[in-house]
Symmetry: C2
C-alpha cells in the first residue's frame, strides 16, 4: 500500500496543497514520485494488489498518473498515517487475514531496485513470523533530517539473514548525536517503510488503539456493501488522528515485536531543496551564473540570473518565488506558515 499524503511544505513553491510533492516529477526522470513508487512495487507484485490511500483532493490526479491502479482508497479527511494505513489493512484483512502487507511512502526516491527487492524479500520472510518489520536505510552521513532505528540482537530467520530486532526508534537527532549514531553501526535511517502480516498489525491496533481498530473494522465490514460510503463518512471523522510511528511502531518495538532489515540502496525522501539537489534536481538550462552556483529552477520557463551567491536555491513558479540557500533548506516550511498566517491560501 502507498499512503499518499503530506504537502511537502519544505518544497514550496513547487509543492502546493493542491499539487503535493508526490505528484511532481522532481528529479527530471519523467515520472512523478508516486509513479516511481508504483514502478518499484509493480516490479514485485501484480498491480491489482497495490492499494493507494489519499485525500479526495488528489484522487483524480492519482488516477490520471496511475492508470493501472484499481484499488484507490479515498479518505474523507486527513487523519494522519495510522488511519490511512489501517484502512487498507482492514480492507485487505477482511478477505485475506494473514496477507503480508507493506507500506511505502508515495514521495521517496530509491535508486537500486535490485537491492530494494532484496530487502523487501527479507522483510516478507521476517513478517511471516509475526514481527512487524521495517527497512533500516544504511546512513550515508550524519543526517539530522531523519529519525533513526536502533538495532538489537540478530534474529535467526530463514531467507532473512540480515534481520535484527528493533531496540527502539529515536527522533531526529542533533548533529553531534547523529554523528555518534552513524559511528555506532547499529543505527539506521527510518525510511517509514513497514512490512507486516495483516492480522499482526490489526491485533496490535486492537490492543493499543481499540477505538481506532473498531472504527476501521466497521468501515471494512461495510466496504463490499452498498453502505460503504455512508459508513466511511460516518465513522472516519471519529477515528483517532495519529501517526503509525506513535500508534504502533514505538510501543511495539519496546515490547520486542519489531524487526529491522537493512536497506543498502540509495534512498532520499526529497524532504527539502538540499535533498532535491542530491537526488538530481537540475537547474534550468539557460540559467546565468556569475560567481555563483546552486540550484535554480524556473518552472515557467523564464530566465534566471544569479550573481555572487554560492549554494543558493532559487525556485520560480508562475505565481511565487523562493530564494534561499542549501543550508537553510529546512526553514522553507516557515514561509508556508507565514503565508497561511497572512491568509494567502492562494499560494500555499
Amino acid at each position: 500500500m502507498i499512503p499518499a499524503g503530506g504537502a511537502g511544505t519544505r518544497l514550496w513553491p513547487l509543492s502546493r496543497a493542491s499539487r503535493p510533492k508526490f505528484l511532481l516529477d522532481l528529479d527530471g526522470s519523467g515520472r512523478s514520485l508516486i509513479q516511481q513508487t508504483w514502478d518499484r512495487l509493480v516490479d514485485l507484485i501484480p498491480p491489482e494488489r497495490i492499494h493507494v490511500v489519499t485525500g479526495a483532493a488528489h484522487a483524480d490526479a492519482i488516477r490520471a498518473q496511475l492508470p493501472d491502479l484499481t484499488n484507490l482508497l479515498v479518505e474523507p479527511s486527513p487523519r494522519d498515517s495510522m488511519p490511512a494505513i489501517g484502512l487498507a489493512a482492514a480492507i485487505i484483512g477482511a478477505t485475506d487475514p494473514d496477507a503480508i502487507i507493506g507500506s511505502f511512502a508515495a514521495d521517496h526516491v530509491i535508486d537500486d531496485q535490485v537491492s530494494f527487492a532484496e530487502a523487501i524479500g527479507q522483510a516478507v520472510a521476517v513478517a511471516a513470523t509475526g514481527l512487524i518489520t521495517t527497512i533500516g536505510i544504511t546512513p550515508v552521513g550524519p543526517s539530522t533530517a531523519f529519525g533513526y532505528i536502533e538495532s538489537g540482537e540478530h534474529l535467526t530467520i530463514d531467507d532473512a539473514g540480515s534481520a535484527r530486532a528493533v531496540s527502539r526508534f529515536v527522533e531526529k537527532p542533533d548533529a553531534a548525536t547523529a554523528a555518534t549514531y552513524v559511528a555506532s553501526g547499529v543505527h539506521s535511517w527510518n525510511g517509514g517503510m513497514f512490512v507486516t502480516r495483516t492480522d499482526v498489525l490489526l491485533g496490535h491496533l486492537a490492543r493499543l488503539q481499540p477505538r481506532l481498530h473498531d472504527g476501521l473494522a466497521a468501515i471494512a465490514t461495510a466496504w463490499a456493501t452498498d453502505d460503504r460510503q455512508q459508513v466511511l463518512d460516518e465513522v472516519w471523522p471519529t477515528l483517532t488522528k495519529i501517526a503509525i510511528d506513535h500508534a504502533i511502531a514505538e510501543p511495539v518495538s519496546l515490547e520486542g515485536g519489531m524487526a529491522v532489515v537493512p536497506g543498502a540502496f540509495d534512498w532520499n525522501d526529497v524532504g527539502d531543496y538540499a535533498a532535491l539537489q542530491d537526488v538530481g534536481g537540475v537547474s534550468s538550462s539557460d540559467t546565468v551564473w556569475v560567481d555563483a552556483d546552486g540550484l535554480a529552477i524556473a518552472d515557467d520557463g523564464t530566465t534566471i540570473a544569479v550573481v555572487g551567491l554560492r549554494d543558493v536555491v532559487v525556485v520560480r513558479t508562475s505565481d511565487a518565488l523562493l530564494v534561499t540557500t542549501r543550508a537553510h533548506a529546512q526553514q522553507v516550511k516557515d514561509v508556508v506558515s507565514q503565508l497561511k498566517d497572512r491568509g494567502r491560501a492562494d499560494v500555499v
Copy 2:
C-alpha cells in the same frame, strides 16, 4: 538639454534595451527618472526651452511621458554623448549663439530642488564668463562607482561665490583612493552636469574635434529647412563616436577652461540596485522574509519569499529573474553581457 540614452544594464531585468532606466519609475515616486529630470528643469526655465536628445526607439515613449516637450531631437543611431549634446548645442547656437545651455542626465535622482537651483544659478553666472562649468556633487562617502572632480583655485565671479577652477577629472578610483579623495576636501563626484555658453562649447569643439564640429554645423544649418532629415541621415553616421568627458571636459580642464560649482543636494545616479535601494526603492509589500533582508521586487505582482540571506537583491519581471546581493550590484552588467553572448536579445 537632457541627453536620454544608456540602457542601465546594471538594473537588469527592470531596465532593458527596449525600456531603459530613464523611462522607469524606480523610486516609487510616480514619476519616471526622465519625468523627474523634466520637473526639475521646468521649475527653472520654460518647457519650450528644454531639448531632449534620444534614440529613435525611445522617441514615442518620451513623447508620451513628457506631453509638454516641444524639442525632441531624435538621433538616427547612438554615437555617444558628445554628438548628442553637440547636436542640441549646434541647433540652439544657430539662432542664439551666446545662449547658456546646460546638460542634465535623464536618469539621475536629485532630492533638494532649492539647493539644485542655487547651484545651477551659480553655474550660469560662471558660464557667462566663458568657462564650461560643471556641478561637483559633495560626496557622502568614498564611492568607487563615480568619477571625481578635483577643484583648483577659487574664482572671483559675481553671483558665484563657491566657484572654483577644475584642476582635473579623475576616473572611478579604487576604495583606498576614494577615501583619500573624500578626506581631501577638494574632490567632488562628477554627476555629468555641464553648463556653458553655446559659442564656448562649439568653439572648443571646433578646435578639439573639428570634423565632429563641422558635421554638427552642417546638420544645424539644414535643421530649419526641408533637408533636415536627409542631411541628418547622411552626416550623423560619420560623426566621431565620443563622450563629452573625453572630447571636451578633460582636455579643456587641463587648459584651465573649466570651473566647478558645488552641489550640496542629495544626488543619486541609480546606477545599480544598491543605489536604487538608497534612493528609496522598496520591496514588494507581500514579500516574506525569514532570517533575511534586502530588496525584493516583483514587477509582475507575484509573491517572493527569502530565507536565510542578508542584503539580498531579488528582482522578478514577467520573463526574467535576478538574484544577487547588495555587494555584487555592480556585477549585474555581466549578466547582460552573457545573455547577449548567448543571443538572448529577447531578455536584454
